[in-house]
């Protein structure tokens, strides 16, 4: 069957042992797959995580609205001209997590900021219209975010994350 040295011959028994062991290992792996994947989100959870459409028309200027998508809070901020200017005027290099405002909004829709409302430190929901930067203040450990949802002060390492979203009309977005 395979190489043979004069000291030891590979017997049929060796072949049978190795073949049985290999098939057994494959079988064991096959058994493990359903036992482990069953803990992944099930079909109803995935279905409930489908994209949501949000109507922006009722949101007044300066207002921040909270919606849920995939069990996460999403802040939708209808920014005033002053708030937009505040976000743009900041020197990007001085930010703890440098990112220009233009990268955090959709072109042509600068007045709309859509971010995931979870503090990037340890997961609390920051409070709107609070803090020194006119954005959010997280009461858990004192992180402060500006009008573009960027971290300015405090222990949070990253800016508030952006969910996947798109404008399906001037007054409607689809998140997800």
């Amino acid at each position: 069957m395979t190489t043979v040295s004069s000291a030891e011959q590979h017997t049929r028994r060796d072949f049978l042992y190795i073949a049985t062991g290999a098939v057994g290992a494959v079988g064991a792996a096959a058994v493990l797959v359903p036992l482990i994947t069953q803990m992944n989100p099930d079909a109803s959870t995935i279905a409930a995580g489908a994209p949501v459409e949000i109507d922006l028309a009722p949101i007044a200027e300066g207002q921040i609205v909270k919606v849920f998508w995939r069990s996460k809070p999403i802040f939708i901020f209808h920014r005033t001209a002053k708030e937009i200017a505040e976000a743009k005027d900041v020197p990007v290099a001085s930010l703890p997590d440098p990112q220009p405002d233009s990268e955090r909004v959709k072109q042509g829709h600068e007045q709309w900021l859509v971010v995931i409302g979870i503090c990037t430190h340890l997961g609390c929901i920051p409070l709107a219209h609070q803090g020194e930067y006119d954005g959010w203040f997280c009461p858990c450990h004192g992180s402060q975010y500006d009008t573009a949802g960027r971290i300015r002060k405090g222990p949070a390492p990253k800016n508030l994350f952006l969910p996947p979203y798109a404008f399906i009309s001037d007054t409607k977005i689809r998140i997800g």
Binding site: V33, P34, L35, T37, Q38, M39, N40, D42, A43, S44, T45
Partner: protein, 408 residues
């Protein structure tokens, strides 16, 4: 079963561990070097199959418990969610439900093996009684698991079985109310059954440890019923018994897989896919097949209390088997008369099972009463008398002689 272990680890880490917790030596002496009679046939593999099935039921059960909700308004739906939404949920559910059936199939074969070859006789009486305890625990666990589905059969089986205790004079109704946690089977009942259904398999696992311990003290019985006399009569457990057990586990799993993948609902009752309705009793209430013989015995006695007593005695009498059978010869191989009565007993037990699935009327009632009579007569009349009057065949001199012939 004595003297120094032959376990000599060469790996330094294993030597270190062995000095502190001799688990390597325990496994070695119990399952590797353990002297096993060389003439064991495949009926002896069912102990290993049972251990395997216990593991399967525990693993699939714990996983199912991650997705099941034990509330009367949500239980049925949570089972359907498992079947339809949870990844491989359908597989886990069918494995667990059919696994219970296979578990009982294996335990009946295991018990019949014990009865045929006299494995309950001295010095294995405690081993046998531990087995009866295990069987009772299995029945309780299986019953409660079936109730958890909260289908029509689940609900009404729970009602019928808990109502059995109302037959007890004076305190019966108090006990039943206590079991229910209410005025009828309801949410408190479901919740406590869930808790106990999760608990009992681990109690079973503990008693299995005692069962294997008792077995290893006495050593295995074997088809001749005579004890090993020398090293020639035994072989080391690994690789001989390990591979033999492993092979039949695979064959058993083929049968198991046949049910799970091709006919997963064959052994169940379609009425259990109807959500429980406390106001409507199904036309026929039937337990799962593995309880049918006892169901038939219960129904064949026209008196409520005596029927319940007959039901529990039909299981309890098993515990007395080592003392009811007076024969000095263990194995039915050398007991030609006992062998015939034994097979009649098997026919009666299987017949009672079939009759349990039939409506209790006409010829079915008559047959059930005949078989019930034979069931008890076998234990109480036949076995004690056979020991005195039976002419047994001569026993071989040793195990190896029976296997290899007089040249051994």
């Amino acid at each position: 079963m004595s003297g120094h272990s032959t376990y000599q680890p060469t790996n330094r880490a294993l030597i270190w561990l062995e000095k502190r917790l001799p688990i390597g030596g325990l496994i070695h002496s119990s399952f590797i070097a353990y002297p096993t009679p060389r003439n064991l046939n495949y009926w002896w593999t069912f102990g290993g199959i049972l251990s395997f099935m216990l593991g399967v039921q525990i693993i699939t059960g714990i996983i199912l418990a991650m997705h099941y909700t034990p509330h009367i308004d949500l239980a049925f739906k949570s089972v359907e969610t498992i079947m339809r939404d949870v990844n491989f949920g359908w597989l886990l559910r069918y494995l667990h439900a059919n696994g219970a059936a296979m578990f009982f199939l294996a335990v009946y074969i295991h018990m019949f093996r014990g009865m045929y070859y006299g494995s309950y006789k001295e010095p294995r009486e405690v081993l046998w009684i531990l087995g009866v305890i295990l069987y009772l625990l299995m029945m309780a666990t299986g019953f409660m698991g079936y109730v958890l589905v909260w289908g029509q059969m689940s609900f009404w089986a729970a009602t019928v079985i808990t109502n059995l205790f109302s037959a007890i004079p004076v305190v019966g109704d108090t006990i039943v109310t206590w079991l229910w946690g209410g005025y009828a089977v309801g949410n408190p009942t479901l919740n406590r059954f869930y808790s106990l259904h999760y608990l009992l398999p681990f109690v079973i696992a503990g008693v299995v440890v005692l069962h294997v311990w008792a077995l290893h003290v006495a050593g295995q019985n074997n088809p001749t019923g005579i004890e090993p006399k020398s090293d020639k009569d035994t072989v080391p457990f690994t690789p001989y018994a390990t591979v033999k057990d492993g092979f039949l586990i695979v064959c058993f799993c083929l049968v198991y897989a046949w049910f799970v993948f091709y006919i997963p609902n064959y052994l169940g009752h379609p009425d259990n896919y109807i959500p429980a309705n406390p106001a409507v009793t199904p036309a026929e209430i039937v337990p799962e097949w593995y309880y049918l013989p006892f169901y038939a015995i219960l129904r064949s006695i026209p008196n409520k209390l005596l029927g319940v007593i007959a039901l529990f005695s039909s299981i309890g009498i098993l515990a007395f088997l080592p003392w009811l059978d007076t024969s000095k010869v263990r194995s039915a191989r050398y007991r030609p008369l006992y062998r015939q009565f034994f097979w009649l007993f098997v026919i009666a037990a299987v017949g009672l099972g079939w009759l349990g699935s039939k409506p209790p009327e006409g010829i079915y009632v008559i047959l059930a009463r005949v078989f019930t009579f034979y069931y008890f007569a076998f234990f109480l009349i036949v076995l004690p008398l056979l020991g005195i009057f039976e002419k047994t065949k001569p026993l071989p001199n040793s195990i190896s002689e029976s296997v290899l012939g007089a040249k051994a």
